[in-house]
């Protein structure tokens, strides 16, 4: 042989590297979205398969790589070695390694087929019905049994089977909550179904994702799922089905850009100087906002939304950084003025968004905003729902989320779609007012 032959054992090194890697990976911290959290009957069904697949897969891996390594070590070229024996085949061996894999595959296929038919059977009729509608790039959730329409935040009662009816408004999407089960695609001109029972979790918050590539902001099409007690769910549906409440806090003013944490910003701050006169003004100029002034409670009764204080894991709190280019001066928003601006169509919000109880706001292109202030996230799970983010979102949404249909609304802002500066639009004070108003819509 013309070449020096140093015996090397590449695969032994490889195996060591892989095991090390696996060890590092396993210890690298929590995996809050892991598919191995078995929080539904669906995911437990999948878990049975996974245990089998990983067990057999590991066994095959160790056997094949082990055999390979033994071969490489045992039969490496040595000095003065005779030419090897000229074996060119062995029928018994070849039959053996045809039959053994076949047996392994039969062992896998039986529970596989059972699980296919189990999980794709029809959901029972008493299941909670949820209609999921995919949009580029947000999620619309409808509860036809309760008359609820919401966006990007899904509430599910523990222990009740939920049957999802999946549609898309545009391109393909895929509905996936890794901790609660496998995904199902949303196919244009088709209806898909998926059901499971969230059970072993108690009250918890989960991340959901779009898992089918759907264009520019596919990465930004996320949602949150909250599992709540049946009693809380009942209160939530009653509240969500009702008209907007919130104008009763019209006297409040919100320090728009200064609020950082979602916990704080969900509650408008009372600032001295936000006069009661403004409240009267709202009542006169914005009759569309029908909540009677006789309902004094700033916060509606009962369970109206998953409180951030109950969010136990940080993975559901968005940390997407704000783009630096959207500056915001520091005005205080007046919710009463904001309600007026909104209902009068300033900025064109009502062209796309609906608020139940505001007759002029009937748009159905963007998310329903009736209870927008009760949500924890903004822009399909991309940002925290607080004054700071919402103000910038209204000012220049396309900069905050590539491709979004919501236009640039702030005057003087660079519009990435038309590639020019906005000569008309809302000024910071108007935006602050609208933000203040929207955040009161609990």
């Amino acid at each position: 042989m013309p070449f020096p032959t140093r015996p090397r054992v590449p695969v032994r090194a490889a195996l060591t590297a892989l095991l090390l890697l696996a060890a590092v990976a396993a210890c690298s911290g929590a995996a809050p979205n892991s598919i191995f959290h078995r929080h539904s009957d669906f995911n437990r069904e999948i878990d049975v398969l996974w245990k089998l697949l990983i067990g057999l897969g590991t066994a095959v891996f160790i056997f094949v790589e082990g055999l390979l390594i033994v071969t490489l070590v045992k039969f490496r070229k040595r000095e003065g070695q005779a030419e090897p024996e000229h074996v060119h085949g062995n029928t018994t061996l070849e039959i053996l390694w045809t039959i053994i894999p076949a047996v392994i595959l039969i062992v896998i296929s039986i529970p596989t087929i059972r699980s296919i038919f189990n999980t794709q059977a029809r959901a029972s009729a008493d299941a909670l019905q949820v209609e999921v509608i995919g949009h580029q790039w947000w999620w619309e959730f409808k509860y036809p049994q309760y008359g609820v329409v919401t966006a990007n935040e899904l509430y599910l009662p523990i222990g009740r089977k939920v049957n999802f009816t999946l549609h898309t408004n545009d391109v393909l999407h895929s509905f996936w909550i890794p901790q609660l089960g496998g995904k199902r695609d949303l196919i244009s001109n088709r209806t898909n179904y998926l059901w499971f029972t969230p059970d072993s979790v108690g009250s918890a918050a989960f991340n959901g994702f779009c898992a089918e590539y759907c264009g520019a902001s596919h990465a930004n099409m996320r949602f949150r799922t909250f599992t709540v007690t049946p009693a809380e769910f009942a209160e939530w549906t009653v509240h969500q089905a009702g008209a907007a409440v919130g104008t009763t806090v019209a006297t409040a003013t919100v320090a728009t850009p200064t609020l950082a944490t979602p916990a704080d910003s969900n509650r408008p701050k009372h600032v001295p100087g936000g006069g009661k006169g403004d409240s009267a003004q709202v009542a006169m100029n914005a009759p569309a906002v029908t909540t009677p002034a006789t309902a004094p409670a700033a916060t509606p009764a009962g369970f109206t939304g998953y409180p951030i204080s109950r969010v136990a894991t940080s993975n559901v709190i968005p940390t997407t950084p704000l783009p630096a280019e959207i500056a915001f001066t520091d005005p205080y928003g007046n919710p009463a003025r904001g309600a007026t601006l909104f209902a009068q169509g300033q900025g064109g919000c009502i062209g796309c968004h609906a608020i139940k109880g505001v007759p002029s706001a009937m748009g159905n292109i963007g998310p329903n905003l009736t209870h927008v202030g009760s949500r924890l996230t903004l822009a399909a799970g991309l940002y925290a729902m607080d004054a700071k983010h919402l103000a910038r979102w209204i000012k220049n949404a396309p900069v905050m989320k590539p491709g979004v249909i919501m236009p640039t609304l702030g005057v003087g802002q660079y519009n990435p779609v038309t590639k020019s500066k906005m000569t008309v639009g809302l000024d910071d004070q108007q935006i602050a007012d609208i933000v203040a108003y929207l955040l009161t819509l609990k």
């Binding site: 390979l68 039969f75 089918e212």
Partner: protein
């Protein structure tokens, strides 16, 4: 027209020599491989940290689309084509492919098609619908710019190249084998290539139809995929994957063939279970047409379809497993020489196994619902395509570079390339299993912090940088060795098949005399007959007939002089032998060099690219470009068809 000279740009533009076309394929495909690799580096840099800010959403989406499209259509397939071109005629003892000018045409179409698709970067509208191009995202309603036009037209162009080449190689293998080279004596690379050509011929028309539908939707207002007109998007998905799954085997089987050449040579043993290796290759290809919908378990096909596609997919694991065991048992009992080529081949066996195991995991539909479109899948198919295809192709490059160039690649630099690639590859792709199981979807340009994905993504990114660095060693090695490497001689590795019986690089006519073959390992019959006693031979009564490469019976297994006058590998030559007798001296008719296939290819591509002007609202100009190109293309095609291939035979 006389024979062209053998050097200079013009000789490369007009060549119809399968070896030079193979060399062109090799270097072009490696260039595209570098581009696809650079795109991958940018992708990994973007994903190294949560909420990465290097690329915007739009550029990222173009980047991952072009990474996939480039690696599949412009890198791995043409790298395989480089070996088809260079090796098939040599391995079957032929002087060229059946249609040398069609072969040149295939290459130029590939080159111009690849350039066309990448020109999209310069207008800032590179394809952005994913390499799978799912409708309706790729329809005009959702992608109104030129991005998808470049993709649709580019893939149509590349399809022409692949189909022309496939028919060429099928004809070559069926008709041009040397005497005695019956099918079951063909080298395993030629066998796997043969299977792949049928996959190409059967799979590419399907994607062509899918693309024609999309092209007509986009340019002429038809409604195959128009959602508003009631189209069913699953039409695209079924058509795409009926092509797309066989495509996986188009990408992997040539690599399987290459390692099936490398492992026996460096184990000094015949391939274990040759007939079963042939049958399992055919079985993989056949079953590969019946499993496409396992890419679609999440679309809601219903339990019956899910079950059928699940079982069919699992079946493929059996012939694939047989191949793995046969490779291991080729080495078992051998005398393993760990050259760089051998290391890459062994790496394929080890790493493809991992991709195979995760493949069986996807075959279980209910479990697949937690895997599909997550990074677990990204890990899986990179183990198949990098751990499998690329490792096999690297093994082939180190093994056959001496035959291409007459020079050896440096083993020292090659070892750097191998070990860095091996570590880098596993560091990049193994953590993706974990990020996928931790819930990370594919094709996302950014992800939030606190998802438990940061560590895995950082590991993948560092691994990718290492992998990119490793590839530089290959480039350096090839550039350095092309002129300055150690002289290879005919048979530097002591290999068994015909291509090693002739000089390196081979003379333009390959074989001065067409060899006669009496077993699967003609060169071992001559040089190491004791290695092939167990292999079927042509016999004369009790006596085995060994035939040397010149076609002479040598009975006792004694090597005689080489036909083209160069020395054999036993004693290392000191310079690359290029002064062989010319084809004219030997009276061998050789095809004339011709520029016509290049022009036919060029005008075909300009004809397609004229379509883009339609979407720029320049219909008149578009028609002018398309019609002029079509006329020129037809003109050159006629000139090609009406000119003789080679001098008249005497």
């Amino acid at each position: 027209m006389a024979y062209g000279s053998n050097t200079g740009l013009w000789s490369w533009l007009t060549t119809v020599d399968h070896k030079r076309i193979g060399t062109l394929y090799l270097f072009t495909a490696l260039t595209f491989f570098m581009m696809g690799g650079f795109e991958a580096e940018l992708i990994r840099a973007q994903l190294q940290h949560p909420n990465g800010r290097l690329l915007g959403a739009e550029v990222y989406n173009q980047m991952f689309t072009m990474h996939g499209t480039t690696m599949v259509f412009l890198a791995i397939m043409p790298l395989s084509a480089a070996f088809f071109n260079f090796l098939i005629p040599l391995q079957i003892g032929a002087r060229d492919v059946a249609f040398p000018r069609l072969n040149a045409f295939s290459y130029w179409v590939y080159l111009f098609g690849g350039i066309f698709m990448n020109l999209s970067w310069f207008v800032g509208q590179a394809p952005n619908g994913g390499w799978f191009g799912y409708a309706p995202l790729t329809t005009m309603a959702y992608s109104p710019l030129l991005n998808i036009d470049f993709w649709v037209l580019g893939l149509q162009i590349l399809g022409v190249s692949s189909l022309a080449a496939a028919f060429n190689f099928i004809t070559t293998i069926i008709n041009m084998r040397a005497p005695g080279m019956n099918l079951m004596r063909m080298p395993m690379f030629t066998w796997m290539s043969f299977v792949v050509q049928f996959l190409l011929v059967l799979a590419f028309p399907v994607i062509t139809i899918a693309l024609v539908f999309l092209q007509f939707d986009r340019f002429f207002g038809t409604n195959f995929y128009t959602i508003a007109a009631g189209a069913d998007p699953l039409l695209w998905q079924h058509l795409f994957w009926i092509f797309g799954h066989p495509e996986v085997y188009i990408l992997i089987l040539p690599a399987f063939g290459l390692v099936s050449e490398v492992l026996p040579t460096f184990s000094r043993k015949p391939l274990f279970g040759y007939p079963v290796m042939v049958y399992s290759g055919m079985l993989i290809a056949f079953l590969g047409f019946g499993v496409w919908a396992h890419h679609m378990f999440a679309v809601g096909m219903g339990p019956i379809a899910d079950t059928m596609f699940s079982l069919a997919t699992m079946l493929i694991a059996i012939p694939t497993g047989v191949k793995i065991f046969n490779w291991i048992f080729t080495m078992w009992g051998g005398n393993i020489n760990f050259t760089v080529s051998m290391k890459f081949a062994i790496a394929l066996v080890g790493l493809f196994t991992i991709g195979g195991i995760s493949g069986v995991m996807h075959a279980s539909p209910t479990a697949d619902l937690q895997q599909t479109d997550s990074y677990f899948i990204v890990a899986h198919f990179h183990y198949v395509l990098f751990g499998g295809s690329m490792m096999g192709i690297f093994a082939g490059i180190y093994y056959y570079f001496p035959k291409f160039s007459g020079r050896m690649l440096s083993e020292k630099i090659g070892n750097w390339h191998f070990w860095l690639s091996f570590v880098g590859m596993n560091l990049t792709f193994f953590p993706m299993h974990f990020s996928g199981l931790a819930g990370m979807p594919r094709r996302i340009y950014q992800y939030d912090a606190n998802q438990g994905w940061d560590t895995y993504n950082a590991m993948s990114s560092y691994g990718a940088y290492l992998l990119g660095f490793a590839t530089l060693f290959l480039v350096y090695n090839m550039l350095k060795s092309w002129h300055g490497g150690a002289v290879a001689g005919n048979d530097p590795w002591g290999a068994p098949s015909l291509e090693w019986s002739i000089p390196s690089p081979p003379p333009d006519y390959n074989f001065a005399e067409i060899p006669r073959v009496s077993s699967r390992y003609p060169l071992w019959d001559v040089k190491s007959p004791e290695l092939t006693t167990d292999v079927p031979h042509t016999r004369e009564g009790e006596k085995r007939i060994d035939v040397d490469a010149a076609g002479q019976h040598v009975g006792g297994g004694k090597a005689i002089g080489n036909p083209a006058g160069a020395s054999s590998g036993a004693s290392r030559p000191t310079h690359v032998e290029r002064n062989h007798k010319t084809a004219e001296e030997l009276g061998i008719p050789m095809p004339y060099p011709t520029i016509k296939p290049l022009f036919v290819a060029l005008f075909m591509v300009t004809m397609f690219s004229g379509m883009l002007l339609i979407h720029k609202d320049k219909l008149g100009l578009a028609l002018a470009v398309i019609i002029t190109s079509a006329m020129l293309m037809t003109g050159f095609l006629y000139a090609w068809l009406l000119s003789p291939l080679e001098p008249e035979h005497h």
